[in-house]
Symmetry: C2
Subunit: 170 residues, 2 copies
């Protein structure tokens, strides 16, 4: 949801310009989401104002100058605080993946806990979906039936993936 910390997290791995960030995010469009330039640049300005990043203007002879942003120590601290905060009942897939991408800032144990928590949350929603899919059962329109079926498949797959990933991690 909030790209602010995701962008900060990307800068924690390597300094980037707003254009770089936008391009990378565009390649993740399907997986996560791609904010527009009109969202990326102001976010960067805001991070700069809060001293979580610094800028270096890199001049190029043939290409326009680039503003490369680098994370500061305060930025790393803020990032750790954001990543460390509990998952609540958040469960948005996009947020899960954004945080997962920044798992480099997590210890192995923290990552395991994160994935386990996600798994239990998906399980809750799978059970809930099974229940309402059972209630609506017949009579309900074809579209709803298909959508419920897709949800069941997606949730089951995610739980399976989480279990396998957790096994690979231990």
């Amino acid at each position: 949801m909030n790209f602010r910390y995701f962008i900060l997290g990307l800068l924690a791995e390597q300094p980037m310009s707003g254009y770089d960030i936008k391009l990378f995010l565009k390649s993740l469009d399907w997986l996560i989401a791609s904010p527009s330039f009109g969202s990326v640049y102001p976010t960067l300005h805001s991070l700069l104002e809060d001293a979580l990043v610094t800028v270096d203007v890199v001049e190029n002879d043939d290409k326009p100058a680039r503003k490369v942003y680098t994370i500061t120590e305060a930025g790393r601290q803020a990032l750790r605080a954001w990543i460390g905060q509990p998952l609540e009942c958040d469960i948005s897939l996009k947020t899960f993946l954004m945080r997962l991408m920044l798992a480099g800032n997590l210890s192995r144990d923290e990552l395991v806990t994160y994935l386990q928590k996600r798994r239990s949350q998906v399980k809750v929603h799978l059970d809930a979906l099974e229940k309402i899919a059972g209630e609506h059962d017949e009579a309900v329109g074809l579209g709803k039936r298909l959508a419920f079926d897709f949800g069941l498949t997606a949730a089951t797959t995610e739980i399976h993936w989480l279990t396998q990933t957790l096994e690979g991690l231990s």
Copy 2:
């Protein structure tokens, strides 16, 4: 994304109050998304203003009065226009599922075309993901590797589901 037409689509199946809609959407929270009351009621007012729905105030003795909204012929027309419009490069999973849920307004052929288009779009994104996952391969952080892996699994599963569903439909 835009709940306006999704809500209109739900009303096409049966008249509902804002509260009913919110409850149903809440049960779909994980699968699609659940707009708040502060979003549902104004949307309903807007639909009413555009004469796409009508209201009936149903008084109850023990419970508060409910405002039950019913779709009009103009509303059905607007809904058909929305559903009929091409998918562009939209591909947001939520939008796909919202439209899928309203498939009752589609002919069998249109539904098949819709699912086929979705499948080809997911395939494009699967290929793109495989490419960037291959590029980043080693060196890239654990988090990114996991996220890419999840994306690959999710996309593969969706394509598989679409293929099976299409087979079941013919």
